[in-house]
């Protein structure tokens, strides 16, 4: 149990909305799956999120945004990750997001978007299938 590769996940709420119930439920579900979850709280800037993700060496960033500013905030996180040579950290998002924005977000490098009504199982299954620890993905180091 001590020596074992565990998925490390950072969950954050970028921007000005303070509704953190959803993100806390997700954090708890990740914990119960056996992941190490770094929770950074509400009102985070993309800079803070990216810098924390790199210091914590996470494999996945989960962003939650209910304010409507997702296009700017989510894209900015991905852009800064790439800028800091950490584009291999996978970013997913959730919140109240119009269908037409999903394509734009995915185009910018957000790997998946989960909308209201998505079950926890669906999210966990997606992560299980799509996110491996960075050290096991091969390639860049």
């Amino acid at each position: 149990m001590e020596h074992q590769t565990k998925l490390r996940v950072l969950v954050a709420k970028p921007g000005l909305d303070g509704h953190d119930r959803g993100v806390k439920i997700i954090a708890r579900a990740f914990r119960d799956t056996g992941y190490e979850v770094i929770y950074t709280g509400v009102h985070q800037t993309p800079e803070q999120i990216v810098s924390a993700a790199i210091q914590e060496d996470v494999d996945l960033i989960g962003l939650s945004c209910l304010s409507g500013a997702h296009l700017f905030l989510f894209n900015e996180v991905v852009r800064q990750l790439i800028e800091q040579d950490a584009g291999d950290i996978i970013v997913i998002g959730g919140g109240i997001i119009p269908e037409e924005d999903i394509t734009r977000l995915k185009g910018a490098g957000i790997k998946e978007i989960f909308l209201p009504g998505t079950s926890l199982d669906e999210i966990l299954k997606w992560v299980e299938e799509n996110v491996k620890p960075l050290s096991q993905r091969g390639g860049s180091k």
């Binding site: 799956t33 210091q55 060496d57 960075l134 050290s135």
Partner: protein, 315 residues
Amino acid sequence: MTVELVNRILEGDVRTAARLMRGIEDGAADAFGEMADLYPHTGKAYIVGITGAPGGGKSTLVDTLITTFRQRDMTLGVVAIDPTSPFTGGAILGDRVRMQKHSTDSGVFIRSVATRGWLGGLARAAVSIIHIMDAMGKDIILVETVGIGQQEVDVTRLADTSIFVLTPGSGDAIQMMKAGILEVADIFVVNKADLEGASRSKMELQAMLGMKSGACEEWEPSVLLTEAVNNIGIEELVDEILKHQAFLVSGEGMEKRRKERARLELTEAIESSLKDYIDSNVDKAFLEKLVDDLVQRRTNPQAAASQIIGKSIKR
């Protein structure tokens, strides 16, 4: 390869350092060799341990300590430890929430660490993570333990200065007289000092500390009142930490603590090498047979252990 990695860490490269920390935590084979190459570059940072019961305000205190040390032009590493679930192996590492405003300050490196089953308030990888931050050139390393009870004093063997944080009304005079953490901390902080009973807690602690006899290196632990959320008493706390540092450096204290820490590292390295060796070399069937013998009381744990060790080590 390793030389390049060591150089990158010495230059303060965050991603490389963060990766190595992860490798150590996960037990990656190459991480330990890299750690060995880094070791000669460690031993310069000043290590401050912060411990105390859950909910006492340790993370908030760390946040304000970071601010104050930064104002005094010192760089910091922070190791924030939270518990791992014994059922799922998962963890919520939430200390960082209180410190996120320092996230983008290049003079501060914050790392959240899960205990992964390690007892004593620390994590197995804590020492290595401290070394990596040390090699990166951080002046001060703050180690925040998991919320502890009375007995978990590991951090005091690792830190140069140990701070015990408690809150008003968290125990009467008898609690304070018990053995454990109260014997080994260098500075006591009564946080949330705006709550009722703060000065009484301070008095009781001082009375208890006054009764302490012998054994100490003449450092008299002080009791400070703080309100971390209001940033009250933090300057004084930093002054006290630096005063303790000066005290250790001026006498034999520093030498003694560093020696104690080296001894601890050696003992742990011996124990874990032995355990790893036995795990990978002792025949599982033989082990199971011994377990059955124990259940049937045909042998005893001490004798069974001797049999395994006798088989593993040629004398």
